[in-house]
């Protein structure tokens, strides 16, 4: 299993703590399992502004991007599963 490439990892540094934690959890629990299509969708998600990204992941907004929509439950599951410091 390869580690996520470092550029993607750095793009998970966000302006809001909530997004930092959600995305960091997903890097640890889930990202490695993604196929190329899933990784491309994750890259598109990282291009979203922080507020929209959080709204999508928390289910306050929906997206027509089916690839990103598939990621949302995976990111939520990763955040709930993460062992925190």
């Amino acid at each position: 299993m390869s580690l996520p490439d470092t550029q993607t990892r750095w793009r998970c540094r966000r302006g809001m703590l909530e997004n930092d934690l959600l995305l960091r959890a997903f890097l640890e629990y889930g990202y490695d399992e993604l196929d190329q299509e899933g990784r491309d969708a994750f890259d598109r998600l990282l291009g979203y502004p922080d507020n929209l990204l959080l709204d999508l992941v928390l289910g306050r907004q929906q997206t027509v991007d089916a690839g990103i929509a598939r990621l949302v439950p995976l990111i939520r599951a990763a955040a709930a599963a993460r062992t925190w410091e």
Binding site: D5, T6, Q7, R9, W10, R11, R13, R14, G15, M16, L17, E18, D20, L21, L22, R24, P49, D50, N51, V57, L58, R76, A79, A80, A81, W84, E85
Partner: protein, 587 residues
């Protein structure tokens, strides 16, 4: 090795609200401006500011800048500099209207004026009726401001060094600041960015505490750069905490949860606030609730495997009330803890939110340091604004809605002074190679191979030491132990190594350098807190419970060299109006 060098009139380190507001002012005046940011600009922490920006527009209720000034001085527990506070409150309406013209979609009243909401600490007639002073763009004001300013800067052709990490300031032997040495995170290549003026706008250092509300990027990089350049940090002991952050994560559970009837319990299931505040109980003031939680944990009545938090119980409110009145809290708890508050209580601990202290500046944004008998001598070419700076408008505690105002007013003010400076300083000063070499050596230090501790466990330990020894429970004994532990950690960090020595996108190196910055900011905070033997604003000592204006109505200054403390007077004289003398704060 040939080092890339670029030259600009003005260099801004940090692309949050303060940096972008300054950059826009400078670019619009046709100065050559560069902004260095370790993350893409719209991922700066300003994006997280929800509340709004204070300005006495009087759109909803009568208001005046002078009442706003009174509230800010009082909120600062009289430690704020009254000249800077007057300047900020007078400038507030102008900066809000400017934002409107930049495209910020403020919420509106029916007749079209900007809507203003009431926040705590706002009054009419110098402490009487509630005022309504906060202008907001729904609940995402920071997001709207940051994105508007970024778009405006693109239009004005500000040059952005995105994903570049600033290592250190370049300073010559006469004390002039000449720019920074940075490196491109993508390529790993260092770069010298020479500038006639340099503005530090890197935000706060909330990440020095384990539980905090700040983005992971808030590692006090600019504050630490200033320290290493010989600039002391001002009033670092003043850190704003909220009582109920999600334990171990940091994000806020608002007072609304307790307002609806939620209560705190310890490991015995006891409603412990009944002991600390028999009348107000769980609705006691923030500092009382924060300290009570910290004491419960310290005395062994904490919950969880590590007994390091208390619990906020909402279960008795019932599913209907929780889903109707507290849906956001339920959502956050379920997402980040996997805990549904309908079925189980939420683990909470006081969470660090905002640093009132920072790099000392005057109201023109110039960085000022004590020189002989002068407490505030400007460092030529160096400016600071926003949470990284201490101007000082927040003093010992910040009012809601004043942080966005601070970044806008003083980002703009610093830019105006920079434009004046540039008129008189048309040429770049000669580069000071020794200073460049020192910065490069800091970068190269992380190329060291061999045995040594890893960065992440050291960072975790540092944050825990700060939480345990310099959080809301402060006594000389507790903090002295913390200082000792930080000294040990400092040595261990000096000997730490990273395993990844690749050049491209080596984020391990960035995180290692952030750790060094956190270390310096943490030491500044705890040494300053140990020094101040009184309780004032957000700084609350169990062993010195009263405010002591006779001894402590003064600013603290921490210097990296020997961890030395110095002090300077508070500027109690406003620009045009009479001073507000210290009084007991009653709300």
């Amino acid at each position: 090795m040939t080092l890339t060098t670029r030259k600009f009139d003005a260099l801004i380190v940090g692309a949050g609200g303060a940096g972008l507001r300054a950059a826009l002012q400078l670019s619009n005046a046709e100065a050559r401006v560069a902004v260095v940011s370790k993350v893409f600009p719209t991922r700066s922490h300003t994006v997280a500011a929800q509340g709004g920006v204070n300005a006495a527009l009087a759109n909803v209720l009568p208001d005046s800048w002078h009442w706003h000034m009174f509230d800010t001085v009082k909120g600062s527990d009289y430690l704020g500099d009254q000249d800077a506070i007057e300047y900020m409150c007078r400038a507030a309406p102008k900066v809000v209207y400017e934002l409107e013209h930049f495209g910020v979609p403020f919420s509106r009243l029916e007749e079209g004026n900007i809507y203003q909401r009431a926040f705590g600490g706002q009054s009419q007639h110098f402490g009487k009726e509630q005022a309504a002073r906060t202008c907001a763009a729904a609940d995402r004001t920071g997001h709207a401001i940051l994105h508007s300013l970024y778009q405006q800067n693109l239009r004005a052709q500000t040059h952005f060094f995105d994903e570049y990490f600033a290592i250190d300031l370049i300073k010559d032997e006469t004390g002039h600041v000449l720019g920074v040495v940075a490196f491109d995170i993508l390529s790993g290549e260092p770069i010298v960015i020479e500038a006639k003026t340099t503005l530090i706008a890197t935000g706060g250092a909330g990440q020095i505490f384990r539980t905090n509300t700040n983005a992971l990027s808030n590692t006090g990089d600019g504050m630490a750069m200033a320290l290493r350049a010989g600039v002391p940090l001002e009033d670092m002991e003043f850190v704003q905490f909220h009582p109920t952050g999600i334990a171990g994560r940091g994000m806020l559970i608002t007072e609304g949860a307790r307002g609806e009837g939620g209560f705190l319990i310890n490991d015995q299931g006891e409603r412990f606030m009944e002991r600390y505040a028999p009348n107000a109980k769980d609705l006691a003031s923030r500092d009382v609730v924060s300290r009570a939680i910290a004491i419960e944990v310290r005395e062994g009545r904490g919950c969880g495997r590590n007994k390091d938090h208390t619990l906020l119980d909402l279960r008795h409110l019932g599913a209907d009330t929780i889903m109707k009145k507290l849906p956001g809290i339920r959502e956050v708890s379920m997402t980040f803890l996997g805990v549904d508050p309908i079925e189980a209580p939420i683990p909470v601990f006081p969470t660090c939110h905002y640093s009132m202290g920072g790099i000392p500046t005057n109201r023109d944004g110039q960085v000022v340091v004590p020189v002989k008998d002068t407490p505030e001598d400007p460092v030529p070419g160096l400016y600071a604004a926003g949470e990284a700076a201490c101007v000082s408008v927040h003093g010992a505690n910040r009012l809601g809605g004043n942080s966005l105002l601070d970044i806008l007013v003083f980002g703009r003010a610093a830019a105006n002074h920079i434009l004046d400076f540039l008129k008189d300083n048309r040429q770049h000063r000669p580069l000071h190679q020794e200073s460049v070499d020192q910065a490069l050596a800091r970068l190269a230090r992380w190329d060291r191979k061999g045995e040594g501790e890893a960065v992440e466990p050291l960072r975790r330990e540092l944050r825990k030491v700060m939480e345990d020894h310099c959080g809301v429970f402060r006594t000389a004994e507790v903090m002295q132990e913390g200082v000792t532990r930080l000294h040990e950690l400092r040595e261990r960090i000096d000997n730490a190594v990273i395993r990844d020595h690749s050049r491209t996108f080596n984020t391990a190196r960035v995180e290692a350098m952030e750790l060094e910055n956190l270390m310096d900011c943490a030491m500044a905070t705890i040494v300053s807190a140990l020094g101040r033997e009184e309780s004032r604003g957000a700084h609350s000592r169990m062993d010195f419970t009263d405010r002591d204006d006779e001894r402590w109505l003064r600013h603290s200054l921490y210097s990296l060299q020997d961890d030395a403390m110095d002090y300077k007077p508070v500027r109690t004289q406003p620009v045009t109006v009479e001073s507000f003398p210290p009084k007991e704060r009653v709300y």
